[in-house]
């Protein structure tokens, strides 16, 4: 039990701090802080991407990008501990990693494990620089939590495959240059066996991206329609029909993706609670509110210290426990509660969206984000199943999808 940095870590931290102090886009700090829950904080995506990309290139140029990647691919060959130290120091600017998170945290480790040497050398450095963004085409209208149920079909043609089907909830598909898709190459076998992982250029004329209008009124996710997109054989990752194993690698790549945790919104609600109104009263004078704040702060701490427990496990040569899944499960609904409380404290003036009023803006976005966050990257329910089955060793659900994929029921059966 020791909270202090080692000499090396302290030295790393102070170098990181100096770099961030000198190079981070401090002139954009307040706008990022205002918009951290918005997901799409600028009027135009392009402005946001440009800001994010500039910070990414600056990190790359000074040796601070993709810290846990091997050096040959544009990383720094460091451990997750240094990655978290850097993100702690990066603070609010770590929000600028958003557009690269999928490429760097999920796609890149998959390429490292399954792509050819030449492909790795070609794609990974440009992902590290932030010059090229990839998207992950996994979910489909009928395959979300039940991911292995994807129905986008790949037909074998001379020299490759042609893809037909629809993907959905694809973050960043509208600005990604490349995409990685899980598709069905054999519907005649059980569902986990007939899948393959492939990647393709997103500007293929047979590929259409359509933004999804979300409840926030903005669009972060997309639908992607594939109508004969050609994928050459060499762009299949892993063996044909072994795509499920590749997908699991992508989804389970915790070591690469451990970073500073997603903010809960405690900072925001605490500031709001302390703010005095015209009569000199502050919401924090209410005991009922203080008790809720204390609960949320305890959750905020539990999530942050959980990250440190994961790093401890890795530093000792072990595997992290369930801390990541717990953080997401607890964090998402806590954010939803904090947002509701914030909007209630703001009262009727928060019934209308406002771009000028920072408080209203922040808590409305947090309100929208809370609902989304409980679904993305593993719903609350899927996470509970994972904890129950993988950690507690409870029996799996009774399943009706164990036969050949083409026979799996997809709608109410006629009796």
């Amino acid at each position: 039990m020791d909270l202090s940095d080692t000499t090396q870590q302290a030295e790393f931290r102070s170098r990181a701090r100096a770099f961030i102090l000198e190079h981070a886009p401090w002139n954009a700090e307040s706008v990022i802080r205002k918009l951290r829950f918005a997901g799409k904080p600028f009027d135009k995506d392009a402005d946001w991407i440009a800001l994010c990309a500039a910070w990414q290139r600056s990190k790359q140029a000074h040796g601070w990008a993709c810290l846990v990647w091997p050096q040959e691919y544009g990383g720094q060959g460091l451990s997750p501990v240094e990655n978290v130290i850097f993100q702690e120091e990066e603070g609010i600017f770590s929000e600028l990693n958003g557009p690269f998170m999928i490429s760097q945290g999920f796609i890149a480790p998959t390429l490292m494990s399954f792509a050819s040497d030449a492909q790795r050398r070609m794609f990974l450095p440009e992902i590290a620089r932030g010059d090229v963004i990839w998207c992950q085409m996994f979910s489909e209208p009928a395959a979300g939590s039940d991911l292995a149920g994807v129905r986008t079909r790949a037909e074998k043609v001379e020299g490759g495959w042609k893809l037909y089907g629809q993907k959905v909830w694809t973050s960043g598909a509208h600005y990604a240059q490349w995409g990685m898709a899980l598709v069905r190459t054999d519907p005649g076998v059980v569902k986990h066996k007939g899948l393959s992982m492939m990647f393709m250029c997103m500007d293929d004329p047979n590929l259409k991206v359509r933004p999804i209008a979300e409840l926030s009124g903005h669009s972060h996710f997309n639908e992607v329609f594939l109508d004969g997109v050609f994928v050459p054989d060499e762009q299949v990752l892993g063996a044909v029909n072994d795509g499920w194993r590749v997908a699991l690698t992508t989804l389970m790549n915790e070591r690469m993706s451990i970073g500073a945790s997603t903010p809960l919104g405690f900072e925001e609600i605490f500031e709001l609670a302390l703010r005095k109104d015209d009569s000199g009263q502050a919401p924090i004078e209410s005991e009922a509110l203080r008790l809720k704040l204390a609960d949320w702060y305890a959750k905020d701490c539990g999530i942050r210290y959980g990250t440190q427990r994961m790093l401890t496990a890795i530093a000792r040569g072990g595997q992290p426990g369930p801390e990541g899944a717990v953080a997401k499960l607890v964090g998402a609904s806590t954010t939803q509660e904090i947002a509701a409380c914030g909007l209630e404290l703001l009262g009727n003036r928060a019934l209308v969206q406002s771009d000028e009023d920072d408080d209203i803006y922040r808590f409305q976005w947090m309100f929208y984000f809370g609902a989304l966050h409980r679904l993305e990257g593993g719903t609350d329910e899927i996470l509970r199943n994972t904890l129950a089955e993988r950690v507690l060793g409870l029996p799996p659900d009774v399943r009706l999808d164990k036969g050949p994929f083409k026979d799996v029921p997809t709608a109410p059966q006629q009796r």
Binding site: M1, R290, A294, G302, Q308, V330, L392, D397
Partner: protein, 370 residues
Amino acid sequence: MDLAFNEDQEAIREEFRRVLASSSARTGLECIEAKASCDQTLWQTLAETGWLGAGLSEDNGGSDLGDVTLCLLAEEIGRQGVAVPFTASACGFATGLARSGATAAIAQWLPQIADGSAIGTVLLPSDWKTPAQVSESGDGQARLSGTTQFIRDGAASTVALSLIGSGENSHLVLLPLVDGVRAPDLERTLDLLHPPAAFEFDHQPIVILASGAAAETQWQALIDRYGLYAAFEQLGGAQAALQMAREYSLTRYAFGRAIGSFQALKHSMADMLAAIEMARSNCYFGAASLDGAADQLREATAVARISATEAFRLCARQNIQIHGGIGITWESDAQLYYRRAQSLASSPGSSTFWKERLMQLLIRRHVPTT
């Protein structure tokens, strides 16, 4: 940065677990039926094997295992659900008195704590029914008058630490709990394994360990350490309740399946696990803060107590729920966790006490951003 117990500490845990699980430990029901204030046989074993002085220096008859190891021992006490006032005496009282610097009182009492002949506890302000008064008699002997509420583990305790008064008139005192004891019928107590008692003091001779600002400072650190040990006891209890629920759900069949295969129960147990993991992270951070600055420990303890209270309560309740009818019978150990989760939530210090303590600290520390 390292947020876990080390190998040596884990080896100590194994050893302690063996002692607690040995044949000398009685089951909860045996203790209740013996109508004893605690499991005297196990207490004696813990004394003879040196565990009651685990946190004390060798000068005081202890084995000097350190404060962090005490955390882990408290967790095991919670996990095993034994009827001994270990956390109050060997953790809260012992470390509090050891750090007071009051050499005479230390020399007199700590060896007795280590050999089990004295059992210590700590009385928080909320444990007093009326504010206690400290006076001095003609012979220069400090005396205390006052009445306490029911004190957790009071029936077994023989000596206590408390803070009396405030500001310049505050005193950190050691008071023997020998006279004016009022203990209820054991079967009428909420936590059957930690029976309480109330005390009435009428010019009872006491020892003043510190006064004024020094007393305040010592006291705040004392209850922060004690609170953390209690949080570890809760963490252990929560894990035991989840384990009991899990095992039952795998052996009990309904509708042709183990009930643990039903998603409603799996999700309930996943939530128990999540609450435990949150509490564990916060407890570990507290253990790592034991040597840190006063404010850091204060924050860490409050946070650990808040999440450990939540975790133990949830696990104790859901353990009964998963057991169904058998869980609410007198014979089931599920009732013992349910009762203990509640008594530990109230003492030392209620959850409202720790939440307010945390918020006062955060408000005081807050620097408004411009």
